[in-house]
């Protein structure tokens, strides 16, 4: 290529990461592949002029930024609904056992996340900020503490920001559980009559945003909406490691899996669990050409959720794996709502019976009835997610189901494929 045609580093489009981060199958303590940006490196790449206020909210609406914790609710709508004088929370308590994108951001791009938090605090007129982390997320907490110290030493003049540690449970990252804790209550989800006002009557308003969401808001605040590219962070789960990547618009699920997944048996996967353990199974024949952008996903009734991409090896059993995830999700109930406390374990038990080839016609009818009864009835969406995953397994993996219905198991050699926390049931 001749000199005058050489393309300068693309400064018009900004990215969150400059490569793939690799983590072990469990935990977020030993991350490799992406170096941490300290304050100097961060300012060198992104500058330090953060714009905020109503103009930023309008830009977030213009780039259609949605919540990356899983709900994908429009961020600008959420910010506009919050009265001033409250607290903004960056939610780094990634409950999904497979997901690690938020940990990767907080460990390698802490200043981007904190810039997003500061911009949000200014935009909604809040008083202070909270970084909400799991108690056991030591490497993440160290990175955030160091970043806060660097910013204080540099005299950035941030509003007050403190780290709050939450119990290491699946539901500690649920939005209402965070708000309830900050109001002095237990770290458990609660039912709210108006989802646009999830704080208690008379309490200070609290705006909870996912880590990736705020990092993306920071990109817009630092570079403007023209430079913003609607990429997505995903966690691709292999049996021995996980990879966190930033994918471009137009990426197919098949292409992503081919690029980032390590097959344990040399074959393509038979299906992919997308979004989270409360997401949806997609048969491989449907996954290969599925474009991971919001519109095509929505058209198929799917969502990128919290960014989990968990392929199921050809030599594993999807029903056995789904029943195992269901048992885990049932164990992670906050134990508050009848349908979740009694319904989910009953469903998980019947699912285990199905896996073991012990479920007859009446048992299958009971399983279907329980699923219908429990759907849509919790204070939070925990049971709905668990049942979405299970129901999608019955459709996407119906060959597996048929093998189990003949009164025996399928005999797949690989088991316990998807990661669960240590000590999970």
């Amino acid at each position: 290529m001749s000199a005058h045609l050489r393309v300068a580093p693309d400064t018009t489009r900004v990215r969150l990461l400059d490569g793939a981060a690799v983590l072990p199958a469990h935990g977020t303590e030993s991350l490799t592949g992406v170096a941490r940006q300290d304050l100097a490196a961060h300012v060198a790449e992104h500058g330090s002029s953060v714009h905020s206020g109503a103009a930023l909210i309008a830009e977030l609406a213009a780039v259609s930024l949605t919540g990356r914790g899983g709900g994908h609710f429009p961020t600008a709508t959420k910010w506009r609904a919050v009265p001033p004088g409250g607290t903004v929370v960056v939610n780094g308590a990634e409950g999904e056992p497979g997901c690690a994108k938020d940990a990767v951001l907080l460990q390698t791009r802490p200043h981007l996340v904190l810039d997003g938090l500061v911009a949000a605090i200014e935009a909604v007129g809040a008083r202070d900020g909270v970084v909400w982390l799991h108690d056991g997320a030591h490497a993440t907490a160290r990175s955030v503490s160091a970043a806060l110290a660097e910013r204080a030493a540099a005299g950035l003049g941030d509003p007050p920001i403190r780290i709050v540690l939450a119990p290491d449970r699946y539901l500690s990252g649920e939005g209402t559980a965070i708000i309830r804790t900050l109001e002095g209550g237990p770290t458990l989800p609660r039912w709210v009559a108006d989802p646009a006002r999830p704080w208690s009557e008379g309490a200070r308003p609290v705006l909870v945003n996912n880590t990736e969401t705020l990092a993306r808001a920071a990109l817009v605040a630092l570079h403007g909406s023209e430079a913003y590219e609607p990429t997505s962070l995903v966690t691709v789960v292999s049996m021995n490691h996980r990879a966190v990547l930033e994918i471009e618009p137009g990426t197919t699920l098949g292409g992503l899996v081919a690029q980032a997944w390590q097959s344990p048996d040399g074959h393509a996967p038979q299906a992919v669990l997308l979004g989270g353990y409360g997401g949806s199974w997609i048969a491989w024949r449907d996954a290969a050409h599925l474009v991971l952008d919001p519109e095509p996903l929505r058209a198929h009734g799917l969502s990128l959720g919290a960014g989990l991409v968990a392929p199921l090896p050809a030599s594993a059993c999807g029903i056995e794996e789904s029943a195992r995830l269901l048992r885990y999700l049932a164990s992670q109930s906050a134990k508050q709502c009848g349908p979740c406390v009694f319904g989910l374990p009953a469903i998980a038990e019947l699912a285990a019976d199905l896996t073991a080839g012990r479920l007859g016609r009446s048992g299958r009818a009971r399983l279907d009835r329980y699923v219908r009864e429990v759907s849509g009835r919790g204070a939070c969406r925990h049971p709905d997610g668990a049942l979405r995953m299970w129901t999608s397994a019955l459709t996407a993996l119906h060959d597996d189901v048929r093998r189990h219905r003949r009164g025996r198991t399928c005999g797949a050699p690989l088991y316990d494929v998807l990661p669960l926390p240590e000590g999970a049931p």
Binding site: P189, A193, A334, F342, R369, E373, A379
Partner: protein, 80 residues
């Protein structure tokens, strides 16, 4: 014609209240299913499944009000 206050798109439709339940507070006592049999059914574990029908004034609304008043856990609400 009355003037309807401007609301967000999400909750434009319902102007009539509905019977709503806070499932985290409900203990499955079940009085509601007796007082509002046309609005509340009990699931396999004895917990109420509440109809989301908008409630015009009249019989159904009276059933709902009776259930709200009688719930010992104050788990039921009439809300839009």
């Amino acid at each position: 014609m009355s003037v309807v206050p401007l609301r967000s798109a999400r909750d434009q439709a319902p102007t009539q209240p509905r019977l709503r339940i806070d499932p985290g507070v409900c203990d499955g006592v079940g009085i509601c299913a007796h007082l509002a049999p046309d609005l509340v059914a009990l699931d396999s574990w004895g917990y109420p499944v509440v109809s989301s029908t908008p409630l015009e004034r009249g019989g159904l609304r009276r059933q709902a009000e009776a259930a709200v008043a009688a719930c010992p856990r104050k788990a039921l609400h009439l809300a839009r």
